[in-house]
């Protein structure tokens, strides 16, 4: 193959485009470190680097938003939602995927669940706020249950689609040995679906971590916050102190940025798999 030259025009477009991504992030960092007295209305005043790199804004922002508490809630909700989604949705994907071709009941259940993708949160929001309150689930636990339900259509679709590639022969061999269906699933099928678990984990984690609406509607009265909810709830308390507000924004972005730097490849693969399937 002939070695091709670097495409100069493409490079130019990409570098210019990169500026539009970098600028908001740069702004966030410099404003988060500045003092209110350093903020002037001129462009140079806004874009210049802070005089000192003091962490005081972050300390104060952490206190106002109860950062560690919100972070703990966000981690707990995201972690449990991911684990439960992988367990519950892969089981459901297995049961439906293996039976929907030959059973009317299973193919109906499959369509019933997958068509849940069309239901916008807006229509469920008000009844769910009532229902979770009635059931004593207007808290982080209720939010997790709802995530397991909301992402079920998408994830069941992904799992049962993936199952088509796993030959029945594997299960039949185990059946001959007298292993139960339940054990066969955990011993053979579940490990084979590992690439799909990664996709589901990434999609679910990103969606849950950044979601505002569900915790806003369900947990609002519980006095607990997730990271995005904390930003929303404490917005009024920052007043015009943008430096504190930006310190708080930056703090809430750091965990996902770290996650992205570490698992960039898995995230990109997961997102593409999820969308293209």
């Amino acid at each position: 193959m002939i070695e091709k030259k670097t495409n100069i025009s493409a490079m130019t477009v990409l570098i210019l485009g990169l500026a539009t991504i970098a600028l908001p992030l740069y702004l966030t960092v410099v404003i988060a470190f500045k003092q209110p007295s350093e903020m002037t209305n001129s462009i140079s005043g806004i874009l210049s680097l802070p005089k000192t790199w003091s962490l005081n804004n972050f300390k104060e922002a952490m206190e106002i938003t109860d950062f560690w508490h919100s972070l703990r809630n966000s981690l707990l909700i995201t972690g449990l939602s991911v684990v439960l989604s992988i367990t519950v949705h892969s089981l459901m994907g297995y049961a439906l995927g293996r039976n929907k071709a030959k059973s009317k009941f299973y193919s109906f259940v499959y369509l019933f669940i997958v068509s849940g993708m069309f239901v916008p949160f807006a229509i469920l929001m008000m009844p769910l706020a009532k229902q979770t309150a009635e059931l004593g689930l207007a808290n982080w636990f209720g939010v997790i249950i709802l995530y397991v339900v909301f992402y079920m259509p998408m994830n069941v679709l992904l799992y049962s689609g993936y199952l088509v590639n796993i030959p029945m022969a594997l299960e039949e061999a185990a059946k001959v040995d007298g292993t139960s269906t339940w054990r066969t699933y955990w011993k053979i099928i579940f490990p084979i679906m590992k690439p799909m678990h990664a996709t589901v984990a990434v999609l679910t984690a990103l969606a849950v971590w950044n979601d505002v609406m569900t915790p806003l509607v369900i947990m609002a009265g519980s006095g607990e916050n997730t990271l995005p909810l904390a930003q929303l709830n404490f917005q009024s308390q920052f007043g015009t102190n943008y430096n504190l507000a930006f310190a708080s924004y930056l703090l809430s972005l750091i965990p996902i940025l770290i996650f992205y730097v570490i698992c960039q490849k898995q995230i990109l693969n997961g997102v593409v798999n999820g969308a293209v399937k």
Partner: protein, 288 residues
């Protein structure tokens, strides 16, 4: 043996299906029921039949929110798809630091849209006017978010900034499915540049184009976080998205019943749009 397998499948399916019905189907039905009442969200209520639906179609505020949401969804979808196709073509060509660029361009997608919108709120309120002042562009000297005629553009920019990341990555995976020899063969027939894109590249990545259209329209029709952080529906209710209106007036504005009717209509609209898109794109793919 066979019975054991059947029983296990039923024991898996029934509880999970029950969970789904409990937190998806039942609230959906309850939403439909509330839409026939004058429920305020508390206290007692009466049946009002179809009055909420009749009111819905004459309510100016609801009409405005549909107009705004659809305008936003259509314009943003076009902007996002044009720009992300362009970026994907650039990212897929022979460039240096390819994986760095791909990683960087996907970054906006993983950030929480609420916080992103807060950051852009500051940008539109303070930085853009200061910049306009310096260069002397009169029209941008006040925040675009404070003008009912331009606020939607601010929302559009923020939505696009994040969505481009996602669509670009999908277009790249589409472009990677186009074999190199297609271009070589096309090159012999004189297909280069725009012609090559129009006759070779684009037809081959149409499935990915459909995915992006479906993703875009659906996400933008449900826009909420960005509105919450940028405009809260203002100024003069010019940027109230349907979801925001349902949340705002339904949850705390005493319009539980009325907004339930709005949500039912919104649900039907989403279903129609999704089904129409799927029909349309599967037809397009068949033609190839």
């Amino acid at each position: 043996m066979k019975n054991e397998r059947k029983r296990t499948f039923l024991l898996i399916t029934i509880p999970i299906l029950a969970l789904f019905i409990c937190f998806n189907t039942i609230p959906l039905i309850r939403g439909v029921i509330y839409s026939f009442t004058n429920f305020k969200g508390f206290g007692s209520y009466d049946w009002v039949g179809l009055r909420n639906y009749a009111d819905l179609f004459t309510d100016a505020r609801v009409g405005r929110s549909y107009w705004f949401t659809f305008k936003l969804a259509v314009v943003t979808t076009i902007v996002v798809n044009v720009l992300s196709l362009l970026l994907a073509l650039a990212l897929n060509s022979h460039i240096r630091a390819k994986s760095f660029f791909r990683g960087a361009y996907f970054l906006p997608n993983i950030l929480g849209s609420l916080v992103v919108a807060y950051i852009f709120n500051y940008f539109f309120t303070y930085i853009l006017p200061a910049l306009a002042d310096m260069i002397g562009i009169e029209a941008l000297r006040t925040s675009i978010l404070s003008n009912p005629a331009t606020a939607w553009i601010g929302v559009m920019v923020v939505c696009a900034w994040q969505a481009i990341a996602m669509n670009t990555i999908i277009y790249i995976s589409g472009l990677q499915t186009v074999p190199e020899d297609v271009y070589e063969a096309g090159g012999l027939d004189g297909a280069t540049g725009w012609k090559q894109f129009k006759y070779l590249t684009f037809p081959l990545i149409i499935p990915f184009f459909s995915i992006n259209m479906v993703l875009c329209i659906k996400n933008f029709l449900m826009v909420f976080d960005q509105i919450m952080a940028l405009t809260k529906g203002g100024p003069a209710q010019s940027t109230e998205s349907i979801s925001y209106l349902i949340y705002n007036n339904g949850m705390s504005g005493g319009q539980f019943g009325f907004q339930s009717a709005n949500a039912v209509v919104f649900f039907i609209v989403i279903v129609i749009v999704s089904v129409a898109q799927m029909k349309f794109s599967s037809k397009k793919e068949e033609q190839l």
